[in-house]
């Protein structure tokens, strides 16, 4: 029954395809991002970076003889809304979807894409995930049409351990405090796993509620009692800010190893308390000798790339490079071919090469470890503080093994 139906759908799809042949079809990109609601500030940054990247593609002549079209869809920060916008995007003929501000929404979109592609062979859609770091997206939920162009918890933690140890700031006693959901649990697991390599002992670990705690003093007291040298935390937003402030107020002498210290507003809010703390992320402006990219970005958007903008723009540049190897001869857009080309592309970012791992479509990418200093080259949040690069951990050292739960079905070639 199902097979007959699938064939019918496929035949109908082929008819539509045949009817539209003869016109050069433009490549359509959809950004399904949190453009209203509490995650707007982050969603806006992803959208800006993607649009910057699309402009670059179009300046170089577009693709398939046409300029690449880009549309923004507001998912309002919710997964059901994202599912609606996905259908809207499909109705608009979108080929590639970009999203980054939430793993929950990334989980929704990757599943929507998978089902859409099963039901509509020949009309595939692909999803480039710029910020959903949940392990399962390249684990249980891994699929051919999903690409993750960001790090994951083990990559960030391994890089932190590697760089801080080299800099002599790691110490021998580590503490893990994280938000109690998949991301925080992933970070905690990664901190435990890296203990042998880093030569430290995890003295205590805590998982707490997500963005509900107003007073971190009890947690800081507990950290103080354990007397660690380094506190690992994957916390973001208020949970990171309040934690650092509480630690500062209590005069706690530890180094924080974080993942989201560069979120806009954090440095300004934390003030001098932030000095000396570490962060591991995909990219930082100070990590490269050349300031060509930050200046070009500033020229186009009015500000140097911050937070997630850098690596998102590189993802588009990598897509541009992949598109450059393809010639569809002015015919229909074949997303499968684009995906295959993207798999074979190596893009040289200012901090090192990024490649796609074919087994699970996680990108193998360098991780930048930086530390907050005064008088930084690129000041954050209009303060005089900013990030100074401690080490760029090369891609092959930062990557982790493919998860066993990933069983990717590749398209027939």
């Amino acid at each position: 029954m199902k097979r007959i139906a699938t064939t019918t759908i496929a035949a109908a799809g082929a008819l539509v395809a045949a009817a539209s042949a003869g016109h050069a079809e433009p490549l359509k990109i959809g950004i399904i991002e949190s453009l209203s609601g509490s995650q707007t500030s982050t969603g806006r940054l992803y959208a800006t970076a993607v649009e910057y990247g699309v402009d670059k593609i179009n300046e170089a002549g577009g693709f398939n003889g046409e300029p690449v079209q880009v549309t923004e869809y507001d998912n309002a920060g919710g997964a059901p809304e994202a599912a609606d916008k996905f259908r809207q995007a499909v109705a608009d003929g979108v080929d590639i979807i970009f999203q980054g501000a939430s793993s929950a929404i990334a989980g929704q979109l990757t599943e929507d894409v998978r089902k859409h592609n099963i039901r509509n062979p020949g009309k595939e859609v692909m999803f480039i995930n710029l910020g959903g770091e949940a392990m399962e997206l390249t684990g249980e939920k891994c699929q051919f049409y999903h690409f993750r162009f960001t790090t994951t918890a083990p990559m960030r933690v391994n890089a932190l351990v590697n760089a801080m140890k080299e800099a002599g700031d790691l110490g021998t006693k580590a503490y893990a405090i994280n938000q109690n959901y998949s991301w925080g649990q992933d970070v905690q697991a990664a901190v435990e796993a890296a203990a042998g390599e880093g030569g430290y002992e995890v003295v205590d670990e805590v998982l707490h509620d997500v963005n509900k705690i107003q007073d971190f003093a009890p947690f800081v007291a507990r950290i103080k009692a354990a007397a660690p040298d380094t506190v690992f935390t994957g916390n973001w937003s208020n949970d990171l800010l309040l934690l650092m402030k509480a630690a500062g107020d209590a005069g706690l002498d530890v180094t924080f190893a974080t993942a989201f210290l560069d979120q806009p507003g954090n440095i300004a809010n934390a003030g001098k308390t932030a000095l000396g703390h570490y962060i591991a992320n995909n990219y930082d402006n100070a990590a490269s000798e050349s300031d060509a990219f930050p200046q070009a970005y500033k020229q186009a958007t009015g500000h140097v790339p911050i937070f997630v903008e850098g690596h998102s723009a590189f993802a588009l540049a990598q897509l541009q490079q992949a598109l450059g190897t393809l010639d569809l001869g002015g015919g229909d857009i074949d997303v499968t071919k684009i995906a295959l080309a993207l798999e074979d592309t190596t893009y040289e970012t200012p901090v090192g090469p990024v490649t796609v791992r074919k087994e699970d479509h996680q990108t193998i990418r360098p991780v930048v470890v930086s530390k907050v200093v005064e008088n930084a080259k690129y000041p954050a949040d209009d303060t005089d503080m900013g990030f100074e690069t401690v080490k760029i951990v090369p891609a092959e050292e930062a990557i982790y093994p493919v998860q066993e739960s990933c069983d990717m079905q590749r398209p027939e070639e």
Binding site: M1, K2, A5, I9, L35, S36, G37, R44, T48, T71, E72, Y73, D74, A76, G78, A79, P80, A83, D84, R87, Q88, V90, A91, D92, S103, A104, A106, G107, Q108, T110, E111, D112, K115, I118, R119, G132, A134, E136, L137, K141, N180, Y181, S182, W183, D209, V210, K212, A300, T301, G302, H303
Partner: protein, 429 residues
Amino acid sequence: MASMRTILILAAILLLLVAVPPFLGIAWQNALVNVLIASLFALAFNLLIGQAGLLSFGHAAYFGIGAFAALHLMIAVEDGFDFPTPLLPVAGAAAGLLVGIVAGYFATMRSGVYFALVTLAIAELFHSLAPHLQGVFGGESGVSSMRMPWQGIVFGSIIEVYYLTLGWVLICGLALWTYTRTPFGRLTLALRDNEQRVRFLGYDAHAAKVIVFAISAMFSGVAGALLAISNETANYSLFATDVSAQVVLQTFVGGSTVFFGPVVGAAAFTLFSFLVSDLTRSWVFYQGLIFVLVMLFAPTGIGGVVQFHARHRRQLDRSRLAGPYALALLGGLLIAGGVVYLTETVAVLFGQGYAVRMRDAVDGLPNYDLFGISWNPVSILTWLLPLVLVAVGGVILVRARRSIAGFWDRVGRSDGPVETKAAAPGGPA
């Protein structure tokens, strides 16, 4: 009694709902699926606030539970369990009913604000517990499944989902309407009006309230299940407060005192977000504005205003009312135009794109584009226009309102279709 006229109107709407969607694009079909689901959810919610007088602030809990129950059944079907796809919402109904009985038992021990707070707490309980129970709620990225074909129907396209949803919403809507006609439905109304008297009449008020609560939760569960079938995924964000809040807003804007009021509100809000959310980032602001205006000037909601006119249709002198009403509409539109213009201008001027152009501009502030026209931000005309729109609209509205109020006074209804200091129904949309 339902008059011939009402039946005809309902039949016409039904015919439209059945016949038109195949000719619409998939985006519209999907929007209609959402309208239907929101309508059922609002109807189920209104059973509590409209009929029983209980304001629940945590109906997301039963909506979400219904969605997860249906999804788990879908997963079982995917793994070979033989269960007809069209009956999947039964799982949502069962789960909603069960959770509703337990939650209702505790929540209905109190009424008023305390009841609202308990329901809010129960929904929050689910919201904070769900991410930790990865096996049931699937963690952050949620639970996912796929609709399986049944009896030759693939359930792959949105139109098939639409008819499935339509069928369920009609059956449930009818059931809820029938409920209001039963003796127990009358007792529900009595609970709202005077609970003490119900008790003195020998009824167990608490038990009755638990039953009403459970029925409302059951139909909410069906709505959740329909969403799960349509989206084929669910994650813990379904338990979030904004889901609970949305149904409250929809019900009140639509009118909780009229049976079909919540449907009007649900349809209005869902279509508004479908049509406007990609046009402007300020759509949530407009939505809030509409809610505030409706609450201030037409507390009985859109449905209440319509019902008022329907009830007085014999006293209506259409020729004398049409003029003032058209005038009020014009005034409302002018004000709406001015407000939208100002909002969008502020959004553009403080937006990122404008910041870049401001930096690149050689001298002064560059012009900006809005509604296809280029505006100069330092020109007086740019700022005069919205002010004139709002002022003229305001004057027209005040005059129109006066003559409308005069008309209803003469008819002998001083309460009027809307509050006497009324603006026209429909704010800046």
